[in-house]
């Protein structure tokens, strides 16, 4: 047993570990936050006091209830169109979760498959995939987003597709690297000797061994994707209004910052921050737990 493993993954990794003790040191707070956001997203209809998309122009810019002029009718105030900020945050949780998770899964699926195929088959397949990732890197995410938005039109699902298509390369690179080292391992060689087909080996032997890395990367990418979603909104090609996406709220509300309508950006900002922070802390933990080798983002 090396010191490295000990220092990173304490307590010592003895082969006989109960599943429970495996998760004994899980970071509780981030997990609770993520579950909380997920619950809010699921029960948004029950939780939200108002319709998130419909407001009244006569009730614009009401501050949160504890400030002068605020009322308990709108606990966290109202926005530029008189919509309830709390309700929008609650429904925003749903959109952020859907956008975040599906985009990450989408990107992860493409990237993992291409990474495995490219890493395992090598040769011209590898070259094509790697050239493709090079090309992708040269096209900034935003360029893509606007192109795609122009072609397919903006919608929540298109944003998911855009983010997925943009970020698959990170998976491809990491997974490919893993596969290259897995290829040299005994069990893969044994499988080859045993006469398994390439596809069987990739599916049965390689995939289960890289899935941990993909999960860790996915947790870390969740944050990246959510920030990217907000940035696309800032550039006017994000989730279209009036959907209450957090990124859109942050971007729409930024105008109010200078006027003193701080609640328009601070609340969605905190929500995004909590979600991304939690995902990242959890991702860091998972990385240590599942895959100490995975260093790059």
């Amino acid at each position: 047993m090396s010191l490295q493993a000990e220092s990173l993954a304490l307590p010592a990794r003895s082969p006989r570990r109960s599943t429970l003790s495996h998760f004994a040191d899980v970071p509780i707070v981030p997990l609770v936050i993520l579950f909380g956001i997920a619950l809010v997203a699921i029960f948004a209809n029950q939780l939200a006091p108002h319709n998130p998309e419909i407001g009244s122009l006569s009730a614009r810019f009401k501050p949160p209830f504890w400030q002068a002029g605020g009322s308990t009718k709108f606990l966290l105030g109202t926005d530029q169109l008189g919509r309830d900020v709390l309700s929008r945050l609650i429904f925003g949780a749903r959109i952020s979760m859907i956008v975040g998770f599906t985009a990450v899964i989408f990107a992860g699926t493409i990237g993992t498959i291409l990474g495995i195929v490219s890493g395992y088959l090598g040769g011209w397949v590898d070259q094509v995939v790697m050239r493709l990732t090079d090309t992708w890197l040269a096209l900034p995410a935003l360029t893509f987003a606007i192109f795609l938005a122009a072609i397919v039109g903006p919608s929540m699902w298109n944003i998911v597709i855009i983010l997925g298509i943009t970020y698959w390369t990170r998976y491809a690179r990491v997974i490919r690297g893993e596969v290259l080292s897995l290829k040299e391992r005994e069990f893969v060689r044994l499988a080859i000797v045993a006469g398994c087909s390439k596809w069987t080996i990739m599916r049965r032997h390689i995939l289960p061994n890289v899935i941990n890395s993909a999960i860790v990367l996915g947790t870390l990418m969740l944050g990246v994707v959510i920030i990217a979603e907000a940035t696309l909104s800032f550039l006017g090609v994000g989730v279209p209004p009036p959907e209450p996406a957090w990124g859109l709220m942050l971007s729409d509300g930024k105008q109010g910052l200078m006027v003193g309508y701080w609640w328009l950006t601070v609340f969605p900002g905190i929500c995004i921050m909590l979600l991304v922070l939690s995902a990242n802390i959890l991702g860091d933990w998972l990385r240590v737990k599942l895959d100490p080798q995975l260093r790059q983002l």
């Binding site: 010191l3 040269a138 900034p140 935003l142 360029t143 606007i146 192109f147 910052l257 260093r295």
Partner: protein, 306 residues
């Protein structure tokens, strides 16, 4: 190694060619620049006139041929919107982008590396958590928001720094920080984990067994090894910074390349989009080669594999 680099360069040229093809056709699918140069309601003949002026009335493959032959002569064509050569535009913006990227990179490394090391050395202690939270905050807040809050705080309330524009080092501080923070976080993270890995390595253990003082172990045996992945990432990030700075450039009215590209897309200025993306691609290729060479300088394992 020369042959290796040569082959790599060959592949990179291939990706650049693919990129030119992709971007050329992609940009033409997205819309008609003429529609943006006239108000809605303009006549069809007006629009046809613009098409003719820009050469958009010719077959696509002819347009691509012209584009490629110009490219061969180092000419990226003429901007539809600015009516000036794209290369000149690009070069006029490049210094700004470079200054911003280098300053942002300096910020991110100056903050990222020492605090990453600190977080790794004091694992599980206050500095580790502080470093982690600082790192993750940079990742958790969109740059446009950080930028606006900074303008509000340092320009409007405190009056210390100019709100926007370029020209003096004072103008550079806020955009460089806003851009650098996100990357600082990434660099700190990588420094931390790479440092942890190196600190957990057998040779660092051996160095401590030798009785070397802690700081010496960190400074000599750990730092240099841990730096390699960080430098690699920094190299790639430097190029990314040039290409993705659009948000920061927009907020701080910093006249860089990100903004040029963004406007190019918004105006369907095909030559600008093609030019900027290709130049960006060329830079990434260049930096990747540079990293390979740098690697060889730092790491004797590669240097000697002739």
């Amino acid at each position: 190694m020369k042959r290796y680099i040569g082959r790599r360069a060959g592949y990179s040229l291939l990706s650049l060619f693919l990129l030119s093809l992709t971007i050329f056709f992609f940009v033409r699918v997205t819309g008609d620049p003429a529609a943006l140069l006239v108000e809605p309601g303009a006549s069809a003949s007006d629009i046809a006139a613009i098409h003719h002026q820009f050469g958009l009335d010719r077959p696509l493959w002819v347009q691509y041929g012209i584009f490629m032959s110009q490219l061969f002569h180092g000419d990226l064509g003429q901007s539809f919107y600015y009516r000036t050569p794209v290369m000149a535009l690009y070069l006029s913006r490049l210094p700004n982008s470079l200054i911003l990227a280098v300053a942002a990179m300096a910020f991110s490394l100056i903050i990222g590396i020492p605090s990453g090391i600190l977080a790794a050395v004091k694992v599980g202690k206050f500095w580790d958590s502080a470093g982690k939270v600082f790192a993750l905050l940079g990742l958790s807040l969109p740059a446009f928001w950080v930028g606006l809050v900074m303008i509000l705080l340092f320009s409007v309330y405190l009056g210390w720094l100019p709100s926007s524009g370029s020209g003096t080092p004072w103008h550079l501080i806020m955009p460089a920080f806003a851009l650098g923070w996100y990357f600082a976080a990434a660099h700190m993270r990588l420094t931390r984990s790479s440092m942890l890995e190196v600190l957990g390595s057998e040779y660092v253990k051996l160095a401590r067994i030798k009785g070397l003082p802690q700081w010496f172990v960190i400074a000599k045996h750990a730092f240099k090894n841990a730096l390699i992945p960080v430098l690699t990432l920094a190299g790639i990030n430097l190029v990314l910074m040039i290409n993705v700075a659009v948000v920061v450039e927009t907020v701080f009215a910093w006249p860089g390349i990100g903004r040029l590209l963004y406007e190019g897309i918004a105006f369907r200025d095909f030559p600008v989009v093609q030019g900027v993306v290709l130049m960006g691609g060329a830079m990434i290729v260049g930096v990747n080669l540079l990293i390979d060479i740098l690697y060889a300088v730092i790491d004797p394992r590669i240097r000697l594999e002739k």
